[in-house]
Amino acid sequence: MLGVNPSTVRYWVSTGRLSAEKRGRGWVVKRDDLETIMAQRRRRAGRPQLVEPLADPGEQRKGLSMLDSIDFSDDA
């Protein structure tokens, strides 16, 4: 999402800094709102690299699937 770490967006929404609207099972944020916050961050820091790298894809995996703790090896 515009090069912003999804966790960062979740944090902004969680803390009320960024508005999000629930649609069905997902959430939608306005691109303009997101770009405004990013511009503020860049101005405050004075350098563009504050746009965070995307999260490590493996970061969100561990601790999310308890199903992986079930041994199905003899159930096939």
Binding site: P6, S7, V9, R10, S14, G16, R25, Q60, S69, D71
Partner: protein
């Protein structure tokens, strides 16, 4: 394998559903304190599903390398809203989650989810007190 009550399949179904709720809560966009309440409810769902699996004598498979896991960057120390002492409890429970995933069985993992649920609820309750909003963990 049959589908009768208490089968591996039924236990797996409950765990799969609990996982879906847990993943949605971890990646949720709800504002605080609702975010934490949703996490707490999902953790409680995991606790129940894992206890059920334990009661069904489902075979346990450890998840090596889970120690030190991170759920989501915004739950890491630094910019969090709420009392630090309560976030310390949450962090401790999260550390235990990684250890339990590498550990010996469903009961231990279920207990950790109980701790996570309690910690998240405590933070959410604290955030409902107006004076706590400005404190960070």
């Amino acid at each position: 394998m049959s589908d009768e009550f208490g089968s591996v399949q039924e236990a797996a179904m409950h765990v799969r559903r609990a996982d879906a709720r847990w993943q949605a809560a971890v990646h949720g966009f709800d504002p605080y304190p609702d975010r934490l309440r949703r996490l707490a409810e999902a953790a409680e769902g995991e606790r129940k599903a894992l206890l059920f699996a334990d009661l069904c004598n489902v075979r346990w498979k450890p998840q090596p390398g889970a120690r030190g896991l991170r759920l989501a960057a915004e739950l890491d120390p630094g910019d969090r809203i709420g009392p630090e002492k309560l976030w310390v409890k949450f962090d401790k429970a999260l550390d235990q989650l990684g250890v339990a995933l590498e550990g010996d069985g469903f009961a231990e993992l279920a207990a950790v989810f109980g701790s996570l649920s309690a910690a998240a609820t405590e933070i959410a309750d604290a955030l409902d007190q107006p004076d706590e909003i400005s404190k960070t963990g």
